[in-house]
Symmetry: C2
Subunit: 257 residues, 2 copies
């Protein structure tokens, strides 16, 4: 039985706890034996209270310690752990493996997804990006990853940095564009939800086409008349600037192909 | 029986033809009686050859003529029609109702979706935005729309303009951000497809949350350290500019809330 301790009780930690509970029900050989939380009330609704501790000195012995706290707390928490030479990983897409303290064997266990509080998610489909300092630890992370997800992939610190930047474009910035679209609709008495099937289809297309193949619209076909109409229509300076910059970027990209 | 003639044979026209064929199989009271195409070979794989004409003078009498050609050809095609005072609509999100010629009663029948050649789509879920000059024509467009889709909605020319701009943000620009993410992955030996579940979840979230509620990431939480790391990481000027502008826009937007 591979024993895991989870340190943290925020949004990602809660999704991980549920995924471990799910894996246990499936009869996997991986067990979440303890959760550390400074606010046990965060997690007692989803895991038995006797598995929760708020004292680092009470941490059980385990094969793997997953630090699942905010990026700026990872270093400090890893330094506070009252043991040495065990396998300790963080779950951050943004931080290098070396942000963990030297006291223990380091690794990363990064589930690549945008988690929303209280919104259930099919954890099995979430890619888990793993990294370790040695092959034995890699094997263990792979085993734990596979208990939770169908997609476990080796990603080193440099690759993860690229992936994290790419995720900002594909998730944070994309969502902001939805926000602008929503605002434009609202200001013109158009229900935003009629854009939902288009947004859905746009996301689905890239499962079968590359984004370059899927690109359409006035910028792509250099339809200057429509571009001008749209720029005249937009009143907010920020929206105009974004429209211009992205149009230009689509066109530059087209030239390179 | 409501008779419809479709003028055009491009990508959108082909999806519409399939949707009319589907509606016929469902036993609806709407029938596509003819398709006009300058290149009949475009459509004979999906509709019987004896329903296709390449001569505008051979157009059958019908309750509704749907002009489904590229935006810059709509005006000319509508002027060429050899009859008067019938109901003629276009399918463009970008053009006003008045881009159609005065000879006939005008209307718009705009299916709001990004159609890909040969990629099947559930037409029933596509919002159809309709506009007409008078209530009788509106009723007819509504009937035809409902034969094809579960979502038929009245959208006037001004609203449609807003919707079209919003769709550029939600579809064209979003897809371009996927393209940038894909390029960053490629350049760093990371398979782009591990971002697919994140992209899918981002699109799904706005079905239950507003884009403002769904916004996460370094810009939203004003994580200057990560923002700097990302900007240092990005090499291409365009990518850097887009990163900066969208980060700034997310932060401005946050201040307004």
């Amino acid at each position: 039985m591979t024993k895991v301790v989870l340190i943290g009780s925020g949004n990602v930690a809660q999704h991980l706890i549920k995924a471990f509970e799910e894996a246990k029900l499936q009869g996997t050989d991986v067990e979440l034996v303890q959760v550390f939380s400074r606010n046990p009330a965060n997690v007692t609704p989803i895991i038995s209270w006797n598995l929760v501790t708020s004292d680092l000195n009470n941490l059980k012995e385990a094969h793997l310690y997953i630090i699942c706290v905010s990026d700026d707390a990872i270093e400090a928490v890893s330094a506070e752990l009252p043991f040495k030479n065990r396998l300790v990983v963080h779950t951050s897409g943004a931080l290098p493996i070396n942000s963990l303290h030297e006291n223990n064997r380091k690794g990363v266990f990064y589930p690549l997804q945008s988690f929303t509080k209280n919104k259930p998610i099919v954890f099995k489909q979430i890619p888990i990006c793993i990294e370790s300092e040695n092959p034995t630890d890699f094997y263990l992370l792979q085993k734990v990853g596979k208990a939770l997800s169908d997609k476990v992939i080796a990603i080193n610190t440099e690759q993860r940095k690229a992936l994290h930047v790419a995720a900002v474009f594909a998730n944070n910035f994309t969502n902001h564009l939805y926000g602008i679209a929503s605002k434009i609709c609202q200001e013109n008495q158009v229900p935003f939800d009629i854009l939902a099937p288009l947004i859905q289809e746009t996301a689905e297309k890239i499962q079968t086409l590359s984004p370059n193949e899927a690109q359409t619209g006035p910028a792509k076909r250099n339809d200057q008349k429509t571009i001008k109409t749209h720029l005249d229509f937009l009143k907010e300076a920020h929206q105009k600037e974004i429209y211009q910059l992205l149009t230009q970027s689509i066109q530059e990209n087209g030239k390179k192909l």
